[in-house]
Structure formats: C-alpha cells, structure tokens
C-alpha cells in the first residue's frame, strides 16, 4: 500500500491528511497519481495547481517520477513557516 499525505489546505479538501491506497496498475508516475486523485477524491482541480509539489519518500520529484506501492507520496501546497 502506498501512503498518500495531503498537506496544508489539501488535507482540509481531502477530509483527512493521509490515506493508504493500493495504486491502480495504470498509475505509475506522480503525474498520473495527481490527476487520478484529483478526480477520485473530488479536489476539483486543487491537486493539479502548478504550485502543488509532490514529494516521494521525502524528496521533491517531478511529475514524471515513477512510483510504487512501497512509497510515501506527499502533496505539498506552497510552504511557509515563521
């Protein structure tokens, strides 16, 4: 099972900050997962915004990055602390 983490406002939109899911066979890249989850979880495009970055196992990656069921995949809207 892949762990998917929705951070910041995305957690509110998803109704939860994390979920475990078995990746469908055709979802093999971060970009494909982004598009699939945006529809499946009803994000209404929020996950597709270019400011939402994706980290796989705590490293920022491009949308072409290959993913598997062992990964922790996080969606990060714009960050900022302080």
């Amino acid at each position: 099972m892949a762990q998917v983490i929705y951070l910041g406002k995305l957690g509110d939109l998803a109704g939860g900050q994390a979920e475990s899911l078995a990746l469908p066979a055709e979802i093999t890249s971060t970009g494909a997962l982004r598009e699939w989850l945006d529809t499946e979880r009803g994000f209404g495009g929020a996950l597709l915004h270019r400011t939402v970055r994706i980290a796989v196992n705590a490293e920022l990656v491009p949308d072409t990055f290959a993913i598997c069921d062992a990964d922790e995949i996080a969606f990060l809207p714009p960050v900022g602390g302080g």
Binding site: I5, D12, A74, G80, G81, G82
Partner: protein, 153 residues
C-alpha cells in the same frame, strides 16, 4: 541546535542558552517571531502550524548548513513551533553568533527568509469568522530572492 516543538517557546530563555553555547562570539543576533493578535482587522484566535517531519527538519538543517557555508558562524539556533499557537506566543526563534556582527545579522536574516518561504510548514489562521490557510506574502518571496541574485547573474 534545531528544534521543532509543540510547547511554548521562551525567546529569552532560548537566548540565554544560546549565549552559553557561543562563549567566544563577539556578536549575537536573534530574531523572535510572534503570533499577532489581529489579521486584516480580525481578532486571531490561534495559528495552527503543520509540519511534515520527514522534510521539515532536514530542510531546516540544510538551510543552517548553507548559512554556515556562506558566513563564518560560531553557532546557529532555530527553534520553531508546531501545532496550535496563541496570539502573543513565539512561533520561531532564530539566533546566529559570529566574531563580527555583519555575519550574524545576515545569517539570521537569511534563515528567517528561508523559514518564511521555503521551510516545510503550513499555517492556518483561525479567527472569529472562520479559518484560512495563509501563504507567504509577496515581500517574503522578494526577500528570499535577495540571497540568490549573485548565483543567478
């Protein structure tokens, strides 16, 4: 020292501890950022700070390492709250110690610009009328860009 904490931050106690760890330094600059009691005219009930631990700590550690490479520093400290923070409470404490003051000023300034725009946190402001996630201001992005001008040109 880098610390993420859900407990209140006492800036003066942080400074006291920091000074003990930098006995040779001639110059210490510290910054403390606090939750303001109002935002856009509304009373703020609290600020919720979310971190993503696998990335937040390592990201700050990298920024501290970058600062230590860029300036000659004898000590650096970053203490950052997570969770719910009330108005008047300290969100962040940053300190830098060096032989002369310029390095300490610039390093503290640099680390704050990093923390405001690149550190892996999300902030939700809760007011009497609702809540909203807040992102860095345009000024914050402009501030952090100052440190990269040399590299680009």
């Amino acid at each position: 020292m880098i610390l993420l904490t859900a407990d209140p931050i006492n800036a003066s106690a942080c400074l006291e501890a920091f000074e003990l760890g930098a006995p040779q330094s001639g110059a210490i600059v510290c910054f403390s950022g606090k939750v303001r009691s109002s935002s856009a005219g509304e009373a703020v009930r609290k600020l919720h700070l979310q971190a993503y631990p696998p990335m937040t700590g390592p990201g700050i550690a990298q920024a501290v390492a970058d600062a230590c490479e860029r300036w000659s520093l004898e000590a650096v400290s970053v203490v950052h709250r997570v969770g719910d923070v009330s108005p008047g409470e300290t969100i962040v404490f940053v300190a830098a110690a060096s032989i002369h003051r310029r390095a300490a000023f610039e390093a503290a300034d640099y680390l704050m610009d990093f923390l405001k725009t690149r550190a892996v946190f999300w902030k939700k402001e809760v007011t009497d009328t609702g809540e909203r996630w807040i992102e860095p201001r345009a000024e914050d992005y402009a501030d952090v860009a100052r440190w990269h001008k040399e590299e680009v040109s």
